[in-house]
């Protein structure tokens, strides 16, 4: 599969990243390589093989419904790049 400019633009958009034209060319090359590496797997017949989703056999790791208060309001806002006394602050946006 060839990675074209259109795919790079879509991925960049989904990842919220901006690239220069030179960077895009480099990315195209790298990603085509990665994809062709993974295409190797298509050579194996996987009919009737269940996909392997989890790497171990753990199941039903659950916790009881017990509330805990782990951090304070101040701690919650501590790492925020922008905040007021109550809220996280982000650039104004609408929609949704």
């Amino acid at each position: 599969m060839e990675i074209n400019n259109e795919i790079i633009d879509k991925l960049a958009d989904l990842a919220k990243l901006d690239f220069t034209e030179t960077e895009k060319v480099a990315l195209q090359k790298d990603m085509t390589q990665i994809i062709s590496f993974f295409e190797k797997m298509n050579e194996v017949n996987t009919d009737n093989v269940e996909p392997l989703i989890f790497m171990n056999s753990h199941e039903n790791i659950l916790r009881n419904d017990e509330p805990k208060h782990e951090i304070t309001h101040q701690e919650a806002l501590l790492n925020a790049p922008d905040k007021d006394s109550d809220y996280f602050r982000v650039p104004k946006f609408l929609d949704k």
């Binding site: 989904l14 989890f54 919650a76």
Partner: protein
Amino acid sequence: MSESIYDKYETVIGLEVHTQMLTKSKAYCADEYEYGANPNTQVSPISLGHPGTLPKHNLEVVKYAVKMGLACNCTIAEWQHYARKNYFYADLPKGYQITQDKTPICTNGFIEIKLKDKEPKRIGITRIHMEEDAGKSMHDQDVYNTLIDLNRAGVPLIEIVSEPDMKNGEEAYQYLTEIKQLVKYLDICDGNMEEGSLRCDANISVMLKGSKVFGTKVEVKNMNSFRNVQKAIDYEVKRQIEAIEAGKTIVMETRSFDAQKGTTFTLRSKEGAADYRYFPEPDLPPLRVTQAFIDDVKQQMPALPKALFHKYTTEFGLNEYDANVLIESKEIANYFEQILAFTKNIKAAANWMMTSVKAYLNEQALHITDFKLQPKQIAEIIALIDGGKVSSSAAQKVFAAMIEKPAESAENIAQQLNLIQESNTDELQKWIDEAIAANPAKVAEYKAGKQSLVGMFMGDVMKLSKGKADPKIASKLVKETLDKQ
């Protein structure tokens, strides 16, 4: 005679309902959640999406989802896992929502909705899956910024997806009413649409009658009451039909409901449809739901409204209207059934619930759980009437007085208010003799055949007894005494 353009089309509606689970802690971490709490006080490194944190399932959420699945006649998935739904939004700190994609916990069920003057209709449930809520964005509190409150982030939700089985706003309204009643009976969600603990999106399309191909569907969001869902659907159906008739094409889009105008408007087009890149959530191990677990959950479930309705209309012989009012909430039904532990007079118990109790609660804006009288006390009042000790109208006075003095028995109150009926025949005979002696002319008329005068004499007896004469015994005695004259 031209057929209305609206009659040429068939409407297809499917609903997606999100309900917040009433667990004590969040879906994948131990934070509490309370609507209206101070912003960003009910959060933890997990709900804030900090790197290196690991979510862990809340067992209770699984139980709640299974309860709803069983109540909706669904198949419960034996093995399942979570998935990540990736999208970028400021109130979604992790950059993905934990949800279920390919393995929803419940599939393939149905519920029945009640329709006016029609047989109940079955609405299919495609799936119910578990997921988490996002935080809240406030756009209007700060002029230059959007403010984010992450208290709601990670609150457990179940999303209930219906089949496109509904035909109009009324059916959608009834469907939501059933869903709300079920989640409230199961005690898994408070069903409060105004506070957002129950939310609904509608997928609506229209097609020419008899067509095999569905029309282009439009999603409508932001309806904050059941009535608004109904209004939004009815408006949207009309809009789509009129657009098609005018030669326009319906575009796939998301629209929002404007409650003030009663219309819908474009929110975003689905052309550049969101690419959520679902993949299995590696941080949460899969879930195996055994039959033993399902049986255990089933044991904890209360009798559901449909079963109660059946019991009330068949076993108890109540009419459908009364049965529906009594099953409206689990608490009302419980109270009613508790009265029945103390009286065999089912009809009277139902009547008291339907009239006096309900009227009092409505008047005082109280919930049945705040009602001061115990079910046993209602049974006491019923026993007073049935035993001929008070008249039905006097019983209303007893009821009102009892609410003021809930610690006293009904009989004590009736005595204090001097409402106990006289059924002693000797006492009654004195009043009757007095009434007859005072009206020789009327007695003569009675003897001449004017039977209806019994009523007049009864009135006099009631007056003389100050309303305390037991009317049944008294009228029999009045007649007997007149006949002997």
